[in-house]
Symmetry: C2
Subunit: 366 residues, 2 copies
C-alpha cells in the first residue's frame, strides 16, 4: 500500500519545502501578481527580470558574497559545468589543473577536464573504496596549477569535506551540487562554485554558478554563447530562454531560507541535528546498521549505510517503501542504503525513519 504522500529521502531530485510547493502550486494557473501561469510568462518580462535579480541578491546575501561575484542560472546540470570549467580555464594551458577524486561524482569530472587540457589527479580515494577523504598531509597543491577542483559532498558515498581545501594563491573551483546553501561555506575563498538545483534549492533543470569576476580575465572568446560565462553574465542568465519555472522555484526556496529559516547558519544547525540523530542510530545499533564513510568525513546530507547482507538490505528497503519512506535505496553504482536529508527534509521525517529503523532491527532479532 502506497501512502498518499511519502517521505522523500531521495538522493535527488530531492524534497522541497512544503510551503514552497504550495506557492508553486498556486502559480501553475496564475502567478497572483501577474494573472498568467508561471509556465507561460515571458522570460523578457519585467516580472522575470525581477525574479532573476532577487535570486542573484538572495544567494549573495545568504553566502555573504561581495560585488565581484556573479550569480548565474544555467542549464545542463553539473555535468555541463564539468566541461565549461576546463573549456574556460584549461584550454591552451601548460600546467595541469589539480583534481581530487573522492567519489563517484568527482570521478565524472576527470575525463571532461582531460578532454580540454592538462590535468592531474592530486588524490584518489579509489584504493580505500571512497570510504574516507584525504588528510591535509596527503595533499600537495601546486602554485602553478590554473585551478584546483573538488566536490564538497559526495552524495553516492556519503562523504563531505568539513574544511576548505587548496591554497589561496590558486583559484578554487568546487562542485557544491549536493550541499549548496545547506551550511556556511566560506564562499569568498572560492573562485567558482557550481551547484545543480535538484538537491537543496529547486527542481532539476537549472544550475547555479557563482564566479569571481577576475577569474574570467583570460577566458577564451571563441566559445558558443551558452558555454561562455562572460556572455551569460552580461545577459543576466537570459542569453537565450532560461528555465523560467525552475528559476522561480529557486526564488521561493531562497526566500524560505532567508525568511523562514533565517539563513544558512540556522539551516546548518537543523541539518546537523538531523544528521546527528541518524548517525547515532547507526553507531548504537551494535553493528546492525553500518555507516559507510569514516566518521570524520561523514556527510550531513547523505547518510550511507549497509546492513549485514544484501538480502537484509533488500528486505529493509521493501519494508521502508511500504511504510512510506521513499528513495532510501543506495545509488545504483554501489547499492546499500542511503538516507538523503537535504534542507527540506524535516526533523520529523528523520524521527519517523529512526522509529522505523528501530522497529526493523528489533523485528529481525526477535
Amino acid at each position: 500500500m502506497k501512502l498518499l504522500n511519502s517521505l522523500n529521502f531521495s538522493g535527488g531530485p530531492g524534497v522541497l519545502p512544503e510551503i514552497v510547493l504550495q506557492q508553486v502550486q498556486e502559480s501553475m494557473l496564475a502567478v497572483p501578481e501577474i494573472g498568467l501561469s508561471v509556465l507561460g510568462i515571458s522570460h523578457r518580462s519585467d516580472w522575470f527580470a525581477a525574479v532573476v535579480a532577487e535570486v542573484e541578491r538572495n544567494i549573495k546575501t545568504l553566502l555573504g558574497l561581495p560585488e565581484n561575484y556573479h550569480v548565474l542560472l544555467l542549464q545542463g546540470g553539473a555535468t555541463q559545468q564539468f566541461s565549461m570549467v576546463p573549456m574556460t580555464l584549461l584550454r591552451g594551458k601548460t600546467h595541469p589543473a589539480q583534481y581530487l577524486h573522492t567519489g563517484y561524482w568527482s570521478g565524472k569530472a576527470l575525463p571532461e577536464a582531460a578532454r580540454e587540457g592538462p590535468m592531474s589527479v592530486a588524490w584518489s580515494g579509489e584504493s580505500c573504496a571512497f570510504r574516507h577523504l584525504p588528510q591535509d598531509d596527503e595533499l600537495a597543491f601546486s602554485a602553478e596549477a590554473p585551478y584546483i577542483h573538488y566536490v564538497s559532498n559526495e552524495t553516492v558515498e556519503g562523504l563531505q569535506f568539513h574544511r576548505v581545501l587548496g591554497r589561496d594563491d590558486v583559484p578554487r573551483v568546487c562542485d557544491m551540487s549536493s550541499d549548496f546553501l545547506s551550511r556556511p561555506c566560506e564562499a569568498e575563498r572560492f573562485s567558482l562554485i557550481y551547484a545543480h538545483a535538484q538537491k537543496n534549492i529547486g527542481p532539476a533543470g537549472v544550475t547555479v554558478v557563482l564566479v569571481r569576476d577576475e577569474l574570467l580575465a583570460d577566458a577564451p572568446t571563441n566559445l558558443p554563447g551558452f558555454l561562455d560565462y562572460r556572455q551569460q553574465i552580461k545577459a543576466h542568465s537570459n542569453l537565450n530562454t532560461p528555465p523560467v519555472f525552475a528559476i522561480y522555484v529557486i526564488l521561493l526556496v531562497t526566500r524560505w531560507l532567508l525568511q523562514d529559516i533565517g539563513g544558512v547558519a540556522q539551516m546548518d544547525q537543523i541539518n546537523r541535528s538531523k544528521a546527528a540523530l541518524l548517525y547515532r542510530q547507526l553507531d548504537q545499533s551494535d553493528g546492525f546498521y553500518r555507516g559507510r564513510a569514516d566518521r570524520q568525513d561523514r556527510s550531513l546530507m547523505n547518510v550511507a549505510f549497509n546492513l549485514a547482507t544484501p538480502e537484509l538490505e533488500r528486505k529493509f528497503l521493501a519494508e521502508a517503501t511500504a511504510a512510506g519512506f521513499s528513495g532510501l535505496g543506495g545509488h545504483r553504482a554501489i547499492g546499500g542504503v542511503r538516507a538523503s536529508i537535504y534542507n527540506a527534509l524535516t526533523l520529523t521525517a528523520v524521527e519517523k525513519l529512526l522509529g522505523f529503523m528501530e522497529d526493523f532491527q528489533r523485528a529481525q532479532r526477535s
Copy 2:
C-alpha cells in the same frame, strides 16, 4: 486593472492547455500514482523511465515517425542546437552546409555554424526586411552540402514555410521550435528536427530533438557527452539529470494532443481557423491593421502586424493589456504588434481579441 487570468498571446514561453495546467498543479504536492511531488521524483525511477518512453512514443505517433528516428529531450534550448548540429555534422567538412536566413531566429544560427565549419547562406531575406520567404526558383541546393538548415516558422516576423525545402539526397535539418506539433510536417523527409518546448509543447527548459539514426554514422566521438547525440540516444535522454518536470509537462501535452484534440491534423484545422479569423480582421480593416508578412508566407502561429504609427501601436498595446490581453507586444527586435496563437490558445481567446480590435479601431475613428 489586471484581470485574474489574462489571455496569453505571448511569443513564448507561451500558453499551455488549461487541462494540462490543472494536472500539473495537482502533481506539485503529489503525483497521484506516486505520492511524491513531481519536483522530487528521481530521474532514475521506473515512473520517470515510463514518462520518457511514453513521450518518445507519443511524439513518434503524432508525427508518424518510423523506428529509425530517435526522440531526445535535451536542455539548452534551440540555441544549444544551433551549435550541436554543426559540431556534429560540420566539423572537418570540405563542402559548406547551406543555411537559409529568413528572419531573426534563422539569423542566430548562422554564426554558430560558421564557428564549427564551412557554411554558406543559400538565401537571405535581409533586403526585403524579412517580409517574405524565398520562392523555389530563388533557391539552388547543392548535392555536396553536408546538410541544409532552415527555420520552419519565424516567430518574430510572422513568416512560415508551407512546404518542405531542399532535396531528398541531402539531409534536411529544421528548427521547428515555434510550430512543432502544430500541424503535419512530413517529418520523415527531415534528418533532424529540433524544437524547444516553450511554444506549443511545454515550459522553457527542455528541447525535443528528432534525429534519424543514419545521420549520426560519422558523428565525432570526442564531444562532451551532453553535446553528443549518440550518447544522449543511448541514455534515453537520461545521461545526466534531465529536466524531469518539463518533460512531465510534455507528456501531458502530447496526451492532450492525442486524446483530446485527436492528432496534429486536427490541431492544424483549429490553428488554421484561428489564423484565418485574425488575418481576415487585418485584411478587412481598411489598412488600420497592416499585416507584416507577405500573404503567401503568413504564419499560422504568429500574426505580426502594425498600426499607422508607433504612438498608435503603444496605445493599442496599453489598452489591450488593460483589457486582459497579455504578450501582444512585438519582439523587441522589430516592435509592432504580434498575436501568437499557439496550439493552446483557444478560438474563444482569438474571438475576444477580434472584438477588442474592432472596438479599438472604431474608437479611433469616431
